[in-house]
């Protein structure tokens, strides 16, 4: 049992799963932003397009997570049709470690970005002309998800299988 748990294949798949967990952050973030958006639209339905744009911003973490999960699956041969290739424990652990940054940072930055986006939506509710600034505030948070994506990607890319 323990052997199969620490096999390279399992560790690699666990890594893909953890990367995909970044979606938790996006789900919460988009949810929080959506609540704020609904509030603004209830006052002025014409702002729907603007606030929808803002609501979409915290959604990217989930995509980044999916991206790394997908790359892991391609790397271990799950999506190529050839079947999963054999991995040593070291390789599996490497892939697992590579997946951690986007998985963890994705969750927390998604939540934080959701809050910033919600505040930005409130801003748009009061001053529609300030949409760009509201977006920028949310995008400042996303920087760290982008950096985590980059770290995950570069680590993953350097693991030889």
């Amino acid at each position: 049992m323990a052997e199969s748990l620490f096999s390279g294949e399992f560790l690699a798949l666990a890594g893909a799963a953890i990367a995909a967990l970044a979606g938790i952050g996006s789900a919460i973030g988009v949810g929080v932003a959506g609540e704020a958006a609904a509030g603004v639209v209830s006052e002025d339905p014409n702002k729907f397009g603007q606030v929808l744009l803002m609501q979409a911003l915290p959604g990217t973490q989930g995509i980044y997570g999916l991206l790394i999960a997908f790359l892991v699956m391609v790397k271990v041969g799950l999506l190529g049709g050839t079947g999963m290739i054999d991995l040593t424990m070291i390789q599996g652990a490497g892939i697992f470690a590579a997946s951690l940054p986007i998985g963890l940072v994705g969750i927390f930055s998604g939540i934080a970005q959701g809050k910033a986006a919600a505040a930005g939506i409130m801003l748009v509710g009061k001053k529609p002309s300030e949409l760009a600034k509201g977006m920028l505030f949310a995008a400042m948070v996303e920087t760290y998800a982008v950096l985590a994506l980059l770290v995950s990607f570069l680590m993953l890319n350097s693991i030889q299988v």
Binding site: I63, L136, A139, E142, L149, L154
Partner: protein
Amino acid sequence: MAVIEMQKLTVIGLNSGRTPFIHELMHLGVVEINSQEGVVNDEEWMSDIFRTSNSADVSRLEADISRVSTALEAINRYDKGKKPLFHTREEIGRGKFTDYMNRTKTETEMNVETAVMSYKQIADGQNEINRLKGIIAGLRPWESMDLPLQTKETKYSVVILGTVNIKTKFEELLQAVLGKAPSAVVQQVSADVQQIYISIICLKEERDQAFEALREFAFNPVSFTEHYGPPREVMKQYETQIEEIQQGINEKEALLAELSGAKKQIEFLYDSLSMHRDRAKIVGNMLSTEMVFYFDGWMPKKAQPEVEALLKEFEFYYEINEPESDEEIPVCLQNGGFSTPFEAVTNMYSLPSRHDIDPTKILAPFYFIFFGLMLSDAAYGIIITVACWILLKKFKLEGMTYRMIKMFSFCGISTFFWGVIFGGWFGDFFTVAGKTLFNVDFVIKPIWFDPLSEPMKLLIFSLILGGIHLFVGMGIRAYMYIKEGHPLDALLDIGLWYILLIGLVLFGLGSSVGPAMVTVGKGMSIVGAAGILLTGGRSKKGILGKVTGGLGSLYGITSYLSDVLSYSRLLALGLATGVVAKVINTLGSLAGGGLKGAIVLLIAFVVGTIFNIAINALGAFVHSCRLQYVEFFGKFYTGGGRPFVPFERKTKYIKILK
């Protein structure tokens, strides 16, 4: 660069010519009129000069406008016609518009009246329906009772109706009432989740006893004095009434739907009224005496001939002055050709203040490159450009929307370019499709390299681009220092940083070129760092201040590091587009070959591509903006300029041609 030069205009004219003059000034639409609030404070003048205000006129017009806008709201709600994607203004000549208004005004006003009345009647009707529905809901529990609701008593007996909580045991209540008032007939009429509805009939003299018994059960008496007849009939009556009202509402709604044919005239009326209002309002910004009026304001230098011609025609006195150095001048941007649409980016941040230069021309090429690099898919680029181009052709867009769409049409070209460079055509769609459907190996080769297999190369390229962007920003700062007459600041605050940063890069990476480079880099770094350490605190007072100032400046190197690293998003977002496209294509290919496989692939492709373009174009837009606003503007730009708001036709539905 391209902040339009402004001039100050001062005019004194005869009151008799004021109204036609304001008309013509609005037609020109190039002069901003300053508010004269608080200008005349001198006691001596106060008695003769007054701020003309026709607030009565203005508020009358405001009321008219709000009526017309209610009419439009009413008509729009019941207008079944398709709404266009973008709101555009209809173009019309000046004479034609006046003609049209004269011809249709009476009829249009009648239509407005009808629309507003109908809208109000619909709202009233709906309120009435809600009220009746509330009454019906209140009567429903008593539906099975045959007694007319208005019956409170007969000669010898009284009728008591009321409710108790659902948790009350009816048996106990019955016994308690019978114990006190033996003549009572207690009936449970109905019950719902909260309450039991009870009717009690007893002799008049036992009434108080019955109530006494009921009190212990928290009995809540109800009465229906305003209704006549048994509940069932009363409800039926009200239902018929609701139907009648509903019919009335339907008729009014049909009427409003019919009025949508006259919508255009009403919109014209709206604009005509709001122009009228603006003309009345602007008079409040002028000063008057018995005979003359005065105003001052701003106009672009290039508008001088037409304004002068107008003033000469009216024979008004005027002065045109260059702005004084400490005055706040309204800002209007004008850039040529390629950079015009990128004014949207500058606008969204903040207009340049008096001491800034217009950054649009410089940020335009960078924005163009960054956006493309972050999306980097040739096919997506074509789609974006073509879609924007169609929008531009189909709709007569204006202002900010026009600039944005135009900007995206440019950015699409950049996206196409980078896509070709990195070999992205719908991600790897053609490879996947070739393999799954036709079993052929078909690869579109990138012109430069494939970022998915050589990400480090693109990362370094991104950081170099970022370095250039930052250096340009710092260069502008230096240019501004020199222009303001502080060349020493330019040298010490920017020049030394140039030396230090270039030195560090050479020191770190120069070894690949030659060992001499490393030495040069080392020397430059030391010179730069020492210079910054010594001069960074030069504006501070005291030795301690100078030392900490120098250290603080040198510590600023961390911000350069984070600034440069920030450009790694160019790579990350570019990868995101490519990989998401790949995910879509892979998902599509899972169904295998054959017709079924082709259909699955096509569906996944279409849905996925739309999703990918939408989400990643948004990302590219936001992050290109961020790189400009935070990293680039941080180096030299403050913003905070006041936009130039000329007195012009601010119309919503029509555009009167000049």
